[in-house]
């Protein structure tokens, strides 16, 4: 049984009181504490490919009588036609709320709410993800309804109108918060001339018709474009039967279109948006390689040391702790398949904006010039290695990792070789990666704030381009 499998694996380790401290006055040095060894062979999902090419991963976990289903569909905003920005999201909302050939949207909502079941759709640039959670006794009905949403959507006009109105209002409200403005415009800038830079506007949403939704659905929602994970209180066999029952006879095909990777080269100039606010937002971004490139591991370590490894990472330490100039300052590496983005961010009061921009640029350049210390390298590697277990600490997360690997077409040994690949990253590789990928000339720098209160003009950092916002 799967259950025993799970428990046996976890039971390999039991806590053994370490001998380092017996309760006296002198506490052990934290670095001297000896820990029992930890062994963990996370359970593996079972992979099935349906006749219609839906890829399915299942993993049983009987602890709580809930079943989780996650579905990833290659139907993100990169596939939107020009002038219809927001169509991917509107299609997802239309599928969820617009009813089906067999049941109105209102009736579906009633049933889902009454059984406290959840079907939630969300979209990003590459995909639409559906998260489903239900009591095990409900899951068959919920998946039946979900299959109707995907296979027989009705896109009821009044539901689409309501979704359109709500979306337009939320776009209007982006203007209320400088952080939201910054993220919207940063996306446009970092992915300029690439479909990933598509951002909905009030105008584009207003133009979207149910006809557009039907067409987007026809082109992108088909079995071969879909990956499913089923986990929780359900056996692998039951899970396969469940998905085959509701999706097995689905025969449809659509469009398979490759989308070009975003351009690497930025122009190093400063993009500026004037906004009356108590704080400025500074974002520095770079397009870098993603998970399929071997530099992925080096970039992971680089990003950790630069600004995502907590207080001890360079950006956070210097700008937040040393200078007290920011509450949020750090970096973030979001790696997709063939490309990724590293962004470095700080929020600071208007008058310290130039100081923080200088500090950020210096910290980035310094790694490219002088590299990282052996202490930093070993800290980063240990941290990444020791916390790896948390990416596989539940049946749901294990299945999610499999979906991610399927989606990006990563090799089967991606997870099993991950820690070794991190371990092999050298200090020199980190320096070189910083030098080549994070060079000043390839950066996109965005400042949202009020330049009149900065004390110095932004032009001291180079050419300044005023961004024309599109709301």
């Amino acid at each position: 049984m799967k259950r025993t499998f799970f428990i046996l694996l976890a039971a390999i380790f039991f806590f053994v009181p370490a001998s380092s401290y017996s309760g006296g006055d002198t506490l052990p040095r934290p670095d001297d504490i000896r820990y029992p060894s930890l062994m963990y062979n996370p359970p593996r999902t079972e992979r099935t490919v349906l006749d219609n090419k839906i890829i399915l991963h299942t993993l049983e976990n009987r602890e709580i009588p809930l079943v989780h289903v996650t579905v990833v569909i290659r139907a993100g905003s990169v596939y939107e036609p020009d002038g219809r920005e927001g169509l991917a999201e509107m299609t997802a909302v239309g599928l969820r709320t617009g009813g089906t050939s067999f049941m109105t949207g209102d009736s579906i909502d009633e049933i889902l709410d009454h059984t406290a079941s959840q079907i939630s759709f969300s979209t990003n640039s590459e995909s639409c993800t559906v998260d489903i959670s239900a009591h095990k006794n409900e899951i068959n009905e919920v998946i039946r309804i979900f299959s109707w949403m995907i296979r027989y959507p009705a896109f009821e006009e009044k539901k689409i109108a309501s979704a359109r109105n709500v979306k337009i209002e939320s776009l209007r409200r982006i203007q209320d918060e400088p952080q939201k403005i910054a993220f919207r415009e940063f996306k446009r800038l970092i992915y300029r001339d690439n479909p990933r830079g598509k951002v909905p506007t009030i105008e584009s949403i207003a133009k979207i018709t149910t006809g557009d939704l039907r067409e987007f659905h026809r082109l992108h929602y088909f079995p071969e474009n879909m990956i499913i994970a089923v986990t929780g209180d359900i056996s692998g066999k039951e899970a396969r039967e469940l998905i085959i029952r509701h999706f097995g006879d689905w025969r449809a095909s659509g469009e398979k279109r490759a989308v070009p990777d975003p351009r690497r080269e930025g122009d190093g100039s400063i993009y500026y948006i004037r906004k009356e606010a108590p704080q400025s937002i500074i974002l520095i971004g770079y397009i870098v390689p993603g998970k399929t490139n071997h530099d992925y591991y080096t970039l992971t370590v680089l990003d950790f040391i630069l600004g995502s490894g907590g207080f001890a990472s360079r950006i956070t330490r210097e700008i937040r702790n040393e200078r007290g100039l920011s509450y949020s300052a750090g970096s973030n590496y979001s790696a997709r398949g063939s490309y990724g983005v590293i962004d470095i961010y700080s929020l600071t009061k208007s008058s310290s904006t130039p100081e923080v921009i200088s500090a950020m640029k210096e910290i980035i350049e310094d790694i490219g010039r002088k590299g990282v210390t052996s202490g930093e390298l070993s800290w980063a590697k240990k941290s990444i290695d020791n916390s790896f277990i948390f990416s596989l600490d539940s049946a749901e997360k294990i299945a999610m990792q499999q979906l991610m690997m399927e989606f990006y077409g990563l090799s089967d040994d991606f997870l099993s070789t991950y820690r070794g690949n991190i371990e092999r990253v050298s200090a020199e590789a980190v320096r070189k990666a910083a030098e080549s990928y994070l060079s000043a000339g390839s950066a996109v720098i965005l400042i949202v704030g009020n330049e009149t209160d900065f004390g110095k003009p932004l032009s001291i950092f180079g050419k300044v381009r005023k961004v024309k916002e599109k709301i």
Partner: protein, 504 residues
């Protein structure tokens, strides 16, 4: 507009069936939870809850001190939150190269910092030369201290040992510290946390005070809805400390002094005001043994005298306006008692009834059917649960509709609650949702450790969450009507509206 084409219609009969087995499932789990949580109280009053969960070799650890913004004296708002930041600066044995040398410099830093604050506090009458001289001395001392400090050691230790979710939070009621670790590393947690409950060192005091000021700019002053809530709370409570912002009023934050932070720590972080919850792949017996060794010798403290002013009964509607460069929004709040009052359970039902899910009353009416709102949500027990609190409603109108239009529609829904009994089906839906919440809470180590420690701290007993589903089960349509009639009245409400500058 039905699109029904075929005879495949889901009949309604399965709804009551769902209700029955969901109830059974929740009951079974309640029983299991009470049987599986190991609860202990140390001699110094420290309360420890352990739940073994062998899903993966990881563990989540929560420490909650019954200390929050409500416990601050006036003029010192933001202290509880500032203290939470300072707790990450290390101890006498973590974060220093030579504590004896460092402690002397720290004493001078505080002395000079206090003098500087005193002078700056004189405002126009302050002596600029004196301020410059003190700033220079402070900065020199900080440099000398810097050479003795090993920065960010607590963060470094947890991160390097695989810690994730490491964070802390301060509320009106509680201050909480939490982290998840590979389960073989639990001794590191005991070492760090017991040490910082006894010997914290508030290093980098003044630069951290600047950080929390930036935090206020980022999370309150740049976010219109948070600005509105701040005004809303200050109006809804005229005497009780729920009226003050957790992060503090700016003029208090700029002068938070070392001595009061230190006193606040001593008084409120005592083991007898602290609950630990541990959920994950551990053995309860050996974990308790470890906790006794590390936490057992922390001294308990006398309960601090309560200086918390009771909120007088509201005597009429209060309205407050925030003029801000943003789209409009509205907050409405009604005073009501805190848990474990029966009425608080009824408001848990009303909260779900009004705003949970697409079929909830406010969402379906205001967002879907009438198209007046972009969003609407409600919160029972706002902003805390140690004291009588609010049932609050937050909504954002959809242009060109106004906050005022939204307000009258919200009142129409509230009147309906008072006049018409909730149908059996609708009440069952709400109860199903609350039962499923309970099951979903059980699904993560961190979430579960958070819930256990929260209810143990605030309700005095983690079993509150077990009894909760049982009491909810018994609530009738008449109970809902009675609570609505008793509390959701004009004289008992506060309304805060954000209006845009240029529309006035």
């Amino acid at each position: 507009m039905s699109m029904t084409k075929t005879g495949t219609v889901v009949n309604r009969i399965f709804l009551p069936v769902a209700f029955l087995y969901l109830f059974a499932a929740a009951q079974a789990f309640s029983y299991d939870l009470e049987k599986n949580v190991h609860a202990y109280t140390l001699e110094n009053g420290l309360r420890v809850l352990i739940l073994e969960r062998h899903i993966s070799p990881t563990v989540s650890l929560y420490i909650r001190h019954r200390a929050g913004a409500v416990d601050e004296i006036s003029g010192r708002t933001g202290t509880a939150h500032f203290l939470e930041h300072l707790m990450f600066k290390g101890t006498e044995t973590i974060g220093t190269k030579d504590y004896r040398a460092e402690s002397k410099i720290l004493a001078s830093i505080i002395e000079v910092g206090n003098a500087l604050d005193l002078e700056k506090g004189k405002g126009d009458k302050a002596d600029p030369r004196k301020i410059e001289a003190l700033k220079k001395r402070l900065s020199d001392l900080q440099k000398r201290e810097g050479s003795l400090v090993v920065k960010n050691e607590i963060d470094r230790l947890y991160t390097e040992n695989g810690g994730v979710h490491m964070n802390a939070s301060t509320g009106h009621d509680l201050t909480s510290y939490y982290v998840s670790l590979p389960s073989n590393k639990i001794e590191l947690w005991a070492r760090i946390e017991s040490d910082r409950m006894m010997n914290p060192v508030f290093r980098e005091f003044y630069s951290e005070r600047d950080v929390i000021r930036e935090e206020r700019r980022q999370t309150i002053e740049s976010v219109p809805e948070r600005m509105l809530v701040e005004q809303f709370m200050a109006a809804a409570f005229i005497a009780h400390p729920y009226r003050k912002p957790i992060i503090g009023w700016p003029s208090d934050m700029e002068y938070l002094g070392f001595d009061y932070v230190r006193d606040f720590f001593k008084m409120h972080y005592a083991p007898n005001r602290t609950v630990i919850a541990i959920v994950g792949d551990v053995s309860a017996a050996s974990t308790m043994e470890l906790i006794r060794r590390y936490f057992g010798k922390i001294h308990s403290q006398k309960e601090p005298p309560s200086h918390i002013t009771e909120e007088p009964k509201q005597t009429g509607e209060r309205r407050v306006e925030l003029v801000y460069d943003a789209n409009p929004s509205i907050a409405i709040g009604y005073h009501k008692p805190a848990l474990p009052s029966f009425d608080d359970y009824v408001f848990d039902v009303i909260e779900v009834l009004l705003s949970r899910g697409r079929t909830s009353r406010l969402y379906s009416t205001l967002v879907e059917r009438k198209g007046l709102a972009e969003s609407v949500e409600t919160a029972n027990g706002f902003p805390g649960s140690r004291y009588a609190n609010l049932f609050a409603i937050f909504a954002a109108p959809r242009s060109p509709h106004t906050a005022q239009e939204l307000e009258s529609e919200i009142y129409a829904e509230i009147e309906k609650l008072k006049k018409e009994p909730v149908t059996r089906t609708e009440l069952d839906k709400v109860k199903n949702q609350i039962r499923m919440d309970y099951l979903r809470d059980l699904d993560s180590n961190l979430g579960m450790a958070g819930k256990l420690s929260y209810y143990e701290s605030v309700a005095g007993d983690y079993r509150y969450m077990i009894r909760h589903t049982e009491i909810i089960e018994k609530i009738t349509p008449e109970d809902v009507m009675a609570a609505a009639r008793k509390y959701l009245n004009r004289e008992n409400r506060t309304v805060a509206i954000l209006n845009r500058k240029d529309t006035r």
